[in-house]
């Protein structure tokens, strides 16, 4: 057939160009990340290029990483969950209030927090999938509602003094010199990567997100898959809350909700790398590390705190615009 011939010859003619566009996009983020590290290490050998700094960079944003992981599950199934950050805030506050104000053992408090998070996920799923209200609106409302509840049960203050056991379990203990919470994040990445790439469930999640009617007519139980994704997302957000509470030994009403947009930034930035166009656990990890490295370096160079927002926003826009450009260039060739 003529079309196959021309496609084959086109491939032969522009092979270097094809190779470039094939690998440029997935490798762009890791390459830029390494370049950033080299740059800051050269500029700041005394502060940036130290074991302590790298250990802090790797571990300090684990709750952000887990929130991004929570987002990519429903995102892959085609749904936005805007309540994840508030669920994390609720989870942290439940632990603090139970453990500090009511002297509940910290393990019980953590289990209660995770249980409540899953319940929130179930409510999200029932409202948006069984009742049929737009997921975006349901989770937006739920997020705002939960922020109110967090302020209510926390008396609008920071509750400090969570059991040292939790703090030890999350940050004080170290493995290979890095606080264990980083390794929890890695474990979650492995689990999520395995489920999304190597199980029929993960394929179904992807197909539901890409073509809901195709999925339905292929016998996939679309509502079940979407509900499961929302519940899983809330559960992961609950874990992020446990990490937040354990990192500082306290819970407040404001810091968790501020993680929502950075988590989305990490999820979408991660989708430009590895397998471009797909949300992936390793992409999230890479994106979070990239963002943290950039911000840490800039702050050590003397930038003020607002550089964080500047960097998050600019990096996301730049990455998405570039990957769009690469893709349309590939489409033309």
């Amino acid at each position: 057939m003529t079309s196959t011939q021309s496609a084959a010859s086109g491939m032969a003619v522009s092979r270097p160009g094809r190779l470039f566009s094939r690998y440029a996009e997935p490798l762009a983020l890791p390459v830029v990340w390494v370049a950033l590290i080299i740059l800051f290490s050269a500029l700041l050998p005394g502060s940036f290029l130290t074991a302590g700094n790298f250990s802090a960079m790797f571990s300090s944003q684990t709750s952000l990483l887990v929130l991004a992981l929570a987002l990519i599950v429903p995102l892959t199934a085609g749904d936005y969950d805007l309540s994840v950050a508030s669920v994390a805030g609720l989870s942290a506050m439940v632990i603090a209030v139970l453990n500090v104000n009511h002297q509940v053992p910290v393990l019980v408090a953590v289990l209660a927090a995770l249980g409540i998070s899953v319940v929130v996920g179930v409510v999200n799923a029932v409202l948006s999938i069984a009742v049929g209200v737009d997921t975006l609106i349901v989770t937006l409302g739920m997020g705002t509602l939960l922020e109110g509840i967090v302020s209510w049960i926390g008396n609008s203050t920071t509750v400090t003094g969570i059991s040292g056991n939790l703090v030890r379990f999350v940050v004080s203990a170290r493995f290979l010199g890095i606080p264990v919470e980083f390794w929890y994040g890695i474990v979650l990445c492995v689990v999520l990567f395995y489920v999304m790439e190597y199980t029929p469930l993960g394929r179904r999640l992807l197909i539901v997100g890409r073509g809901r009617e195709v999925a339905r007519l292929s016998g996939i139980r679309v509502k079940l898959v979407r509900s499961g994704a929302l519940i899983c997302s809330a559960g992961l957000a609950g874990i992020a809350g446990v990490l937040l509470a354990g990192t500082t030994g306290a819970a407040d009403t404001t810091s968790a909700p501020l993680l929502l947009l950075p988590a989305f930034a990490a999820a979408f930035l991660g989708a430009t790398t590895i397998l471009p166009g797909r949300f992936s656990a390793w992409g999230c990890l890479l994106a979070v590390l990239f963002l943290v490295s950039g911000i840490t370096g800039l702050q050590q160079l003397g930038a003020q705190t607002f550089v964080q927002d500047l960097f998050y926003g600019a990096a996301l826009i730049a990455a998405v615009v570039l990957s769009h450009a690469v893709r349309s260039h590939r489409g033309q060739s």
Partner: protein, 521 residues
């Protein structure tokens, strides 16, 4: 019904003379002349490809003409026209989709043209606009709540709103009292009982001096509502005359082009003594009511009918794609109630559907061929708890070879393939499940000629030991592919064609005439 031909002394509202138009060397219209006079309901009939759509597009000003003239109230109209020009000349169109915005109110839809084009005024008086709309509705004796959302309105009310807007909406110019409204198959999605309300409105429009060009496939409706008809075939006018003087046979013969037998051709299907592989009993779903038929292994059954007859709902219901109100399916020695049917259950029972819309329902364009082919058999590829990508790609490559998908590489995205190769992928996806019943909806839509032959061959081969049911509006395809064809009319089986009778012309003819046959039998 209106009486006979209109008075000849009226100057024609619309006069078309010698219209000719070709597309890429194919003559779509060849010297077409006809006219529509004031106060007349004029029917326009013709099979698919007869030039009907081209003619309507010329009147709407889309195309320029190679020869001929169009004049309105005696004045020649230069073609093509700007989009707003027909409206100014007093010609408006109501297409099948009605052009309404479902999430807006009746009043907002009524004013849509005005809102879109007005250049004056910063403020609308909703009270005044509502009063004006109610006055128009009153004049045509229609009861509608201007505040109701179109989404919540009954289908017939939507159609009435669209027609009233076209006839007497705020966009009309005050000078021209006579208007021409082109109704392009306005009734296909309406229940029979409600068509009467639409016709009452059409009559009121005509009695006010305006004219209606009524485009339809439905002979009953054309006979009921029109004063005169024009029939197109192969781009030429083959018949024009007063409706009352024409018989059904005259019309069918003009449309189909062959001399057809006057005697009724209607045979009840005789259940084969050897036993059916499937038996569908009293299926009620979508537009379909009480449809029953049997199918035998090795048989390809065609389902067709006019738009709105519900033929495609039969296959979609049997696959669980649309909800079923009632019905039973006997398959593989058991009988299932279809009211709780889902695609997953259908698949488990060996019933699969190759859907009509490849890119929305058949496969995911943004995923590789591999994922699209394997999505229904994912459990085959789990090894030691891991989904084996290599096994998936291997299976997809085998299927691509077996079904001649080009290019062979299953790592390509589905959306990168041509229409014919996409359809082969969807066929392969479903046939690897070894179904007992293969349901097809428009299997060769948007497929090139070569691939079309391959798809026919694939379906015929697949039907060797299973039942295949093909719902299609492509009568040529049905004649080539099927052993027998069931023709639906208003949601019910009205005729069956098989054996030597099974030709394209015969199928078209039965689609057009079958309601009368059924009423007579």
């Amino acid at each position: 019904m209106s009486e006979g031909a209109p008075a000849a002394d009226h100057a024609p509202l619309l006069q078309a003379t010698g219209l000719s138009k070709s597309f890429g060397g194919v003559r779509a219209l060849d010297g077409v002349s006809f006219d529509v006079v004031g106060g007349e309901v004029h029917g326009l009939l013709g099979a698919n490809g007869s030039g009907k759509s081209t003619l309507i597009k010329i009147l709407a000003g889309y195309h320029h003409l190679e020869a001929g003239t169009v004049s309105v109230r005696g004045e020649a109209v230069p073609l093509p026209m700007d989009p707003g020009r027909p409206q100014k000349l007093g010609i408006s169109f109501v297409h099948q989709d009605l052009g309404l915005v479902p999430s807006l109110s009746a009043l907002e839809n009524f004013l849509l043209g005005k809102i879109a084009t007005t250049r004056r005024g910063l403020r609308m008086s909703w009270r005044r606009e509502r009063a004006a709309m109610l006055e128009v509705l009153d004049r045509y004796e229609i009861e509608l709540d201007p505040r109701q959302l179109v989404r919540d309105m009954r289908p017939v009310d939507r159609a009435l709103l669209a027609i009233v807007r076209a006839v007497d909406g705020p966009g009309r110019i005050t000078g021209a009292a006579q208007r021409l409204v082109v109704l392009d198959e306005p009734t296909v999605f309406l229940p029979r009982a409600e068509v009467a309300r639409l016709f009452a409105l059409v009559r009121r429009v005509a009695s006010s001096g305006s004219s209606v060009l009524f485009v339809s496939h439905d002979l009953d409706e054309v006979r009921e509502i029109t004063d005169r008809v024009t029939v197109l075939r192969n781009g030429q006018v083959v018949l024009t005359g007063a409706t009352a003087r024409l018989s059904d046979d005259d019309l069918v013969e003009a449309i189909v082009g062959a001399k057809v037998s006057v005697s009724a051709f209607y045979r009840r299907h005789q259940a084969s003594p050897s036993g059916a592989a499937i038996e569908v009993s009293r299926l009620n779903a979508g537009a379909v009511t009480d449809v029953s038929f049997t199918g035998h292994a090795g048989e390809v059954i065609g389902l067709t009918g006019l738009l709105g007859s519900g033929y495609e709902d039969v296959v979609r219901a049997l696959a669980g794609a649309i909800p079923v109100r009632a019905g039973r399916l006997r398959i593989g020695g058991g009988t299932v109630e279809l009211s709780a049917w889902t695609p997953a259950r259908a698949l488990a029972r060996g019933v699969v559907l190759v859907p009509g819309d490849r890119l929305i329902e058949g496969a995911v364009a943004s995923l590789p061929v591999t994922d699209n082919m394997t999505m229904v058999r994912l459990h085959d590829f789990v090894k030691h708890g891991l989904l084996s990508r290599r096994a998936m790609t291997g299976r997809a490559a085998e299927l691509a070879e077996a079904y001649d998908v080009r290019p062979r590489d299953p790592r390509l995205l589905f959306g990168q393939l041509s229409g014919g190769n996409q359809q082969k992928v969807v066929l392969a996806k479903w046939l690897q499940t070894c179904p007992d019943v293969l349901l097809l909806h428009e299997p060769t839509q948007g497929v090139d000629v070569g691939a079309r032959q391959q798809i026919f061959a694939t379906v015929r081969a697949a039907a060797g030991d299973r039942v295949a049911v093909c719902a299609s509006s492509d009568h040529d395809q049905l004649a080539r592919l099927c052993d027998r064809v069931l023709i639906l009319r208003r949601g019910q089986i009205a005729a069956e064609i098989s054996g030597v009778e099974l030709t394209k012309a015969r199928i078209t003819e039965e689609c057009l005439r079958s309601s009368r046959e059924r009423a007579a039998s």
